[in-house]
């Protein structure tokens, strides 16, 4: 192509680009469309009620107003074991400040889960998903999987696989600055 042709093409694309720029502008007063609950970023976290290991019940929507770190795990899962101390540290450090760390044990008996927690010296709340209904609701098909839910109950990040302290620090910023 000749010089003139290139410059004409550039001018043309720049003009169309200006139109795309104006079309793509996000006005400040935009109203957010309410998305249906789903285990995906930007959607409200699907609500559930499960028995806890401590003997009570936990309902996710009761934690509204708090950032929630929702972690699916099982005792047979090596990577889960690896990240448990990190989650405990998070609970120790920010539990008082209102960050709720909630473990969901996938499909194991209370005894198995309790023995595991005791062995590792873990004290953050753990719910029991013995029939794996909540795991299915959250489409958890590999462990560990973690959802970061903001104060309004909207999922802001998800993480598949074990998280190090550094990864937690980074991902937590999406729900707790």
């Amino acid at each position: 192509m000749t010089r003139t042709r290139w410059h004409t093409l550039t001018a043309l694309i720049a003009l169309l680009g200006l139109a795309a720029l104006v079309w793509g502008r996000v006005p400040g007063e935009r109203t957010l469309t309410a998305l249906p609950p789903a285990p995906a970023i930007g959607h409200p976290a699907p609500d559930f009620t499960l028995p806890t290991l401590a003997g009570g019940q936990v309902t996710l929507s009761d934690l509204a107003g708090q950032p929630v770190v929702l972690n699916f795990w099982a005792s047979w899962c090596g990577p889960c074991r690896a990240e448990m101390p990190e989650l405990q540290r998070l609970h120790d450090r920010l539990g008082e400040a209102g960050v709720a760390v909630l473990g969901v044990n996938q499909g194991e008996s209370p005894d198995t889960a309790a023995a595991f927690l005791e062995k590792l010296g873990l004290s953050f709340p753990v719910a029991l998903d013995q029939r794996t209904g909540v795991s299915q609701q959250y489409l958890v098909n590999s462990l560990p999987t973690t959802f970061f839910i903001d104060r309004e109950g909207v999922i802001r990040s998800t993480f598949i696989g074990p998280m190090s302290d550094a990864v937690i620090a980074q991902t937590l910023r999406s729900i707790y600055p």
């Binding site: 192509m1 000749t2 010089r3 003139t4 042709r5 290139w6 410059h7 093409l9 550039t10 001018a11 694309i13 720049a14 169309l16 680009g17 200006l18 795309a20 720029l21 079309w23 793509g24 502008r25 996000v26 006005p27 400040g28 469309t33 998305l35 249906p36 789903a38 285990p39 995906a40 970023i41 930007g42 959607h43 098909n141 590999s142 993480f159 598949i160 696989g161 074990p162 998280m163 190090s164 302290d165 550094a166 990864v167 620090a169 980074q170 991902t171």
Partner: protein, 239 residues
């Protein structure tokens, strides 16, 4: 949406797998193009390998600077194998710096080397975009267009898929032009840059969430517009 793929008894992360494929496919194409332009393909493989290493190191160091309080209490996390603890921007910077060093060290002709690398980069971006589409990353804005796909009860632009297709079309056009006419060194790389910037400029409004500046302007579009003008001007000057 397939964030993980079952391979035998394992579940592999789709996006990570796509990135690996993107790297290998992009590098192979770049090496092939290098040979077509009279360069040694091995130099391209070396360049790609060292750039990847430097990119990973820089991405981890960048992460450590950003989350210093964590790394200070536990410096061993610098060596952790966690692929989550990487930052993209410093990684890219490290990779580019290393590529520049390799080009100098082997005295590779800059323009021709960039001409060889450009199609490889476009292919890598296309494969990565396909992976992002499968894994449900890079979400598109809500839409009722005929091409919208349903995801979690809402219909969205298939942004990552459109991006992958646009990149592949651009790549085909680029390879065809390169084969058909004798171009000055640097033209292929400039055309790739020009085309990629134009593609980002027009696809960005379909993205669910963009970084904004000022009164709701999308930063990516502003940068892409500047790159279109600059690379278009250079293309004319160099032709």
């Amino acid at each position: 949406m397939y964030p993980t793929l079952p391979i035998g008894p394992l579940r592999l992360q789709t996006y990570g797998l796509a990135l690996l494929l993107a790297y290998l496919a992009g590098l192979a194409l770049a090496a092939r193009q290098a040979r077509r332009h009279g360069l040694d393909g091995d130099h391209i493989y070396n360049l790609g390998f060292y750039a990847l290493l430097a990119g990973i190191v820089a991405a981890r160091l960048g992460h450590a600077v950003a989350y210093l309080e964590v790394y200070r209490t536990d410096p061993l996390q610098l060596l952790s194998l966690s692929p989550g603890a990487l930052l993209l921007a410093p990684g890219l910077l490290g990779a580019v710096a290393m590529a520049a060093l390799v080009i100098r060290r082997y005295r590779l002709p800059l323009a021709t080397t960039l001409d060889a690398l450009a199609p490889g980069l476009l292919l890598a971006l296309a494969v990565a975009s396909l992976g992002a589409f499968l894994a449900g990353r890079e979400l598109g804005a809500l839409s009722d267009a005929f091409w919208a796909v349903e995801l979690f009860g809402v219909r969205r632009h298939p942004l990552a898929l459109l991006q992958a297709l646009a990149l592949l079309a651009l790549l085909a056009l680029l390879l065809w032009t390169d084969r058909r006419s004798a171009l000055r060194p640097g033209q292929v790389a400039l055309m790739a840059l020009f085309g990629y910037a134009a593609l980002r400029l027009f696809l960005e409004p379909l993205r669910a969430e963009s970084l904004l500046v000022g009164d709701g302007w999308r930063i990516t579009q502003l940068a892409a517009l500047a790159v279109v003008v600059l690379s278009g001007w250079l293309l004319g000057r160099n032709s």
